[in-house]
């Protein structure tokens, strides 16, 4: 297991930069360039390097889709949000006429986590194999319904690849594409499932759309065990803690604060904030990241916990 690549990191609803957003970034860069040398490419790169990520890049707007790089020929993916479309295009580009196999693990069946399937190019290619794993009883029916008329023009009969559905029993470890995969029930409307992937002494946890009831110690213990010594925890940090336990209680999401606490208790090495609030612009996500890093710093009791915020296209090597 080499690492992960994020293809979609936004929560609930895909979003896009507007012309106004792009203009604001350009203006910010031009202001930063005032009075500085501009003659060489390195001069320009130096100016860009001095700016925050939100000024020169974007966290992106695709909904949840994360590729686990197994180091092997088969693909492993978490969730089929709109980010599945660019992932499918990239995978197809490296196909070279050889049939491909995709193992896709679904956290749950809400639209933002399944909307990419109708646009997943590899599913249209005869010879390919697409195996969809999950623990929801109605998984296949939900995916078929998404493409039934009048919601979509073509149903599953359009797919040329072989589609398979595998029901996973939570807590039971299964070998898939060289990885030991274990799922766990999470608190979310209609239930969601987190996944722990292990290989060669490395562990990645994918835990999105998961609310953490703070009063229940056994709940925290269960998650601490699931996150235990993970090299990377991809965590739903959609809301502030105040929102998550007041006006947005029971909405099924968590906060950066709880992410830091669980990872610290579990001895995890890297917390990656994920499922970003769609109303947040890049600067707001930058600010949340900065605050989360500061929180980790002032509450640290043992080894440091690295904190990042996922963006579309981001790669993390283990």
């Amino acid at each position: 297991m080499k690492g992960v690549r994020f293809w979609g990191t936004r929560g609930s609803l895909p979003v896009a930069l507007t012309a106004r957003d792009v203009r604001a970034k350009l203006l910010g860069a031009l202001r930063a360039a005032r009075g500085r040398p501009l003659a060489s490419e390195s001069d320009l790169e130096s100016i860009l390097a001095s700016l925050p990520f939100a000024a020169t890049g974007t966290y992106g707007g695709h909904s949840s889709c994360v590729q686990i790089d197994t180091g092997g020929p088969e693909f492993v993916v978490c969730d089929m949000g709109s980010g599945l479309r660019p992932f499918g295009q990239a995978a197809t580009a490296e196909r070279n006429g050889i049939a491909q196999t995709f193992h896709i693990f679904l956290s749950h069946l809400h639209w933002d986590h399944i909307m990419g399937l109708p646009f997943f190019v590899p599913a249209f290619i005869p010879g390919n194999r697409v195996v969809i794993y999950g623990s929801h009883a109605g998984l296949e029916a939900a995916l078929r319904r998404q493409q039934d008329k009048p919601s979509f023009p073509v149903d599953f009969s359009i797919f040329g690849a072989k589609l398979e559905f595998v029901h996973l029993e939570p807590g039971r470890t299964r070998e898939v594409a060289g990885l030991a995969v274990t799922s766990m029930l999470q608190r979310h409307a209609g239930d969601s499932y987190g996944y722990r992937f292990e290989s060669s002494g490395k562990a990645i946890v994918y835990s999105t759309d998961s609310e953490h009831p703070l009063a229940h110690a056994e709940h925290a213990e269960r998650f601490v065990g699931f996150f235990r010594d993970a090299d990377l925890v991809i965590f739903d940090g959609m809301y502030s803690l105040a929102d998550a336990i007041s006006v947005k209680a029971d909405w099924g999401h968590s906060s950066n604060i709880v992410g830091v606490e669980l990872c610290q208790m579990a001895g995890a090495r890297h917390l990656c904030l994920f499922h970003h609030e769609p109303v947040f612009d890049d600067a707001a996500i930058d600010a949340v990241l900065g605050e989360t890093r500061r929180l980790e710093e002032i509450t640290r009791t043992s080894r440091p916990l690295h904190v990042s915020a996922a963006f579309d296209g981001m790669e993390i090597a283990l």
């Binding site: 110690a217 502030s240 803690l241 336990i245 906060s255 606490e261 989360t292």
Partner: protein
């Protein structure tokens, strides 16, 4: 770790001063100690001031206890104030956005001034009655 809450009445307000770490281990104890104070203050519509100057850390579970206390006080239109947090705790309030849903003051004097002129005057004088 045993979490202590010392209390004292100051004019028409009550000051409660927890000490130590309010974390996953001690939050239940904090809730147990705070609940009757909140109930009494809410029933009397008195201000309850939490003097946080001796609180070293508060976790999400502890913040949840504050959220519940604030809600109960609000239902009876009785003010709840958190005063004089240490810098780490003040940062946690800001990062969690609890500073937007709780009234947090930098000093105990500021909190007492928000309670009433009598509370501020008595706090600044020597006449507060101690209890624990």
């Amino acid at each position: 770790m045993h979490l202590q809450i010392a209390t004292r009445h100051v004019a028409d307000a009550v000051i409660a001063a927890p000490a130590g770490r309010i974390d996953h281990r001690s939050a239940a104890e904090f809730e147990t100690a705070l609940t009757p104070l909140v109930a009494a203050a809410a029933a009397a519509k008195s201000a309850l001031v939490l003097d946080f100057s001796a609180v070293e850390y508060i976790s999400s579970v502890g913040l949840r206890v504050l959220m519940i206390a604030a809600k109960k006080m609000r239902e009876r239109e009785a003010p709840l104030l958190v005063a004089a947090p240490q810098s780490v705790v003040a940062e946690i309030f800001a990062i969690s956005r609890f500073d937007r849903i709780l009234t947090v003051t930098a000093t105990l004097d500021e909190a007492m001034a928000l309670c009433s002129p009598a509370a501020l005057a008595q706090h600044r004088g020597a006449g507060s009655s101690e209890a624990s």
